[in-house]
Every structure is written in structure tokens, then in C-alpha cells.
Symmetry: C2
DNA sequence: GTCTATATCGCGATAGAC
DNA sequence: GTCTATCGCGATATAGAC
């Protein structure tokens, strides 16, 4: 089994803190937050259980760090993609392609980010919710813009946005590197599906 | 707070076993399997912790029962919908409408069904996986049929099926009865989106 | 900063009276 | 079939040596 190295946490120092973060991401993704023991996390980082508490106050704080950095990364990826280029169709396709690719490539982190929210403490949760709103907002604006210019045909913009975001996020649940598709292929497929959902018609396909 | 009564488990007897099942569904959906204590489940059923073990061998067996019945119900709903009626477009719309509605209306059960699979024991997990294949199969056949008759235009049938199933399932993650849409409305919206994903063109909309 | 050892707690599951 | 009481374990987190 290969250990997925995730550059999302590449900048974390000291080294021990980063190793703990990576171990925690893997463990949380495999078993879930509550089923993961601090012994397990510390073990993956090559340390004793006690060493964890030098770098993080609690297990929950470790989860919060993962969740925060993960959300920031995925939103950043989305923002870069839409800024990139072109008309609404190009922007929507780029956004979905990038967002899906992130959820597939970083499915370990993404799983924690998307499915362990309930394990966060109250104030930590509140801070994460703020970040989450952005991704939906970005995609909604692209759809709105496309409808305004007549490139898209969408009756329920809010609902369709929700569906597109939902489609992208769920990739984290089912994606496996052993599966038959690469992150790039899924991104491409989903970009096309999102355009169809938006009522976009290219050359008459 | 109102207790969601879920007819999925209406037939379970004796009464105490059903109350435990319903308590477990709620607790698992709110906190997750591992964060739920047997004391919590028993409390919701109005019993002492020990009474749980008269009706179920372990906490995991309780999860398995929920997962099995839940999967059976959702697949049954899907099967009834596609049998119903019409051409491929009608069948796809009916299937998505019904599947989405089930995940919204029974979002508590659905959340456990879709997101607590990893907590199942090995043989229990294997038995559930068999059930899960059916729902994908049903939707894939509808898409295939529609492509064969020329009503749909889909290049990657497997991938598009996966996306449609994924879209429906993710409803369980975000749906809230306090949200702005009813299960019926979401079902209707998603049925239309699925038709678009399938490349279906009605009257020139 | 990391270790070994351990305090303290609450879990899943069982025993035995009724 | 349900209760009260409890066993045995493993969890998070801390103390104190190095």
C-alpha cells in the first residue's frame, strides 16, 4: 500500500506536526474521526501517543486543521479555475473540471473535509461553514452569468447550483485510485455533464 | 423536536426491537455509528442499556439491520418507479424522481445507509454490497435502452450512470426538512437534470 | 521535543434478581 | 423481557524523566 502524499499540507512545520496531520488524514478517511485513536495517528507518524499533544491540543484540533486547510485549498482551486478564461460555458467547465479533480486526487483529504464535519466542535464548525459557502457562491455566479447572457437555460439557478456542487462533492465518497477512471477523465466527463445541466448547447451535438 | 417516524421499520416486531431500531437510526444519523453509545440508543427507546442485548447481539448488528432494510427499501422504490411507465425518458425521470424523494424523505435512514457502511463487519458489508449494485444496474439499463432507441445521447453510459446515482445519493447528505425545498420539488428538479445529463431533448426547450 | 507510565473516564457487553 | 449493578477494556489526555 502506498502512502498518499498530499501537498496540501506540505508547508506545515515542524516536521512532526506535518507527519501527524498526514497520519490523521489517512486514519480519519479510512475509519472516521470517532473510530480513530490517537495511538493510531501517532503510530502512523512514527511517534508515541503522548507526542501528539505537544503539537495539537486535542484530537479535534487536528481535525479542524485538516478541515480548514482542505476547505481553503478546494476553494482556491475553484477560484483559480473560474478566473482562468472564456465565456460562461468555459468557466463552468473549468470550474467543475478543477473541483472534481481535486475531490478525486485528494479523495483522502476530501473525505475528511466533506464527511467529518459533524465531529467538529461548535466554534470550529462555525468557522468552516463560512468557507463552505464560497464554493457554492462561485458556481452560482457562473450559472447566473451564463443565464444572463443567454448561453445557459436554467429555470432554478439555486437548485441547479446545489446539484452541480453536490455532484462534485460526492466524488470524494466513491472515488478510488484502483477504479477505472483517472481524476482527469472524471473531471472531463463531469464538466460535460454540468454543461448539459446548465442547458448549454454547443455546435449541435 | 419531533421524532421522525419511518415506516421502513413499521413491520419490525416486537415493539421494543422496533423502538431500538428507530432510536439507533436517529442516533447514527446525528452522530455517526462510532460516536453513538448503546446507552444513547436504549435511552431513546425508553429502555435500559442492557435491554438492547435481548434484541440484538451487538451494536453492529443493529447497524446491519438498518442498512439491510434501508437498502432493500430504496432499491424497491427504484424498481417500482422504472416498471411504472412509458418510454426511456419517462422511466429515467420516474426513477430519479423516486430515488431522490426516498433519500430526502428518509434522509435520516439514508444517511446511515450511505455513510456508515465502513462501520459494518466484513461479512455484513459483503451482503450489503450486493444490494447496492442493483440500484446502479437499474439506472444503467434505463440509460442503455434510451441510447439504443435514440432518445438519449450518452457517450459514456457507465460514467453517466455513476453520476446520476451519485447525484441522487448525495441528497441524503445535505437535505434538511427545514430547507427551502420539499422532497417532491427536489425530485422534480433532479428528474429534469438527469434527462439533460442523458442528452434528452423534449419539445425544443 | 519525545519518551514511558499512568490517571481518569466512559464504553460495550454480561450477570443475576425479578 | 427488563431491570440494576458491574466487569473488563481501551479511550483521551497528562505527569515527569530524559
Amino acid at each position: 500500500m502506498t502512502v498518499e502524499t498530499d501537498e496540501s499540507f506540505g508547508g506545515v512545520t515542524p516536521d512532526a506536526a506535518r507527519r501527524l496531520l498526514l497520519g490523521a488524514v489517512q486514519a480519519f478517511a479510512e475509519r472516521g474521526f470517532h473510530a480513530t485513536t490517537t495511538r493510531d495517528i501517532a503510530g502512523r507518524a512514527g511517534m508515541s501517543p503522548a507526542a501528539l499533544y505537544i503539537h495539537y491540543k486535542t484530537k479535534e484540533e487536528l481535525l479542524f486543521h485538516i478541515s480548514r486547510v482542505g476547505h481553503e485549498r478546494s476553494v482556491a482551486v475553484l477560484e483559480e479555475a473560474v478566473e482562468g478564461a472564456g465565456d460562461s460555458a468555459g468557466r463552468l467547465a473549468a470550474a467543475v473540471r478543477a473541483f472534481v479533480r481535486w475531490h478525486a486526487e485528494h479523495h483522502t483529504t476530501a473525505r475528511v473535509v466533506q464527511y467529518e464535519l459533524a465531529a467538529l466542535g461548535e466554534e470550529h464548525y462555525a468557522r468552516i461553514v463560512v468557507l463552505r459557502r464560497r464554493s457554492e457562491e462561485i458556481l452560482r455566479e457562473v450559472l447566473q452569468e451564463g443565464v444572463a447572457t443567454g448561453q445557459f437555460a436554467v429555470e432554478d439557478i439555486r437548485g441547479t447550483t446545489l446539484a452541480v456542487v453536490s455532484l462534485c462533492i460526492d466524488v470524494a465518497r466513491w472515488f478510488s485510485p484502483e477504479g477505472r477512471r483517472t481524476p482527469d477523465e472524471i473531471g472531463e466527463l463531469y464538466a460535460g455533464l454540468a454543461l448539459r445541466m446548465a442547458g448549454y448547447r454547443d455546435g449541435g451535438r
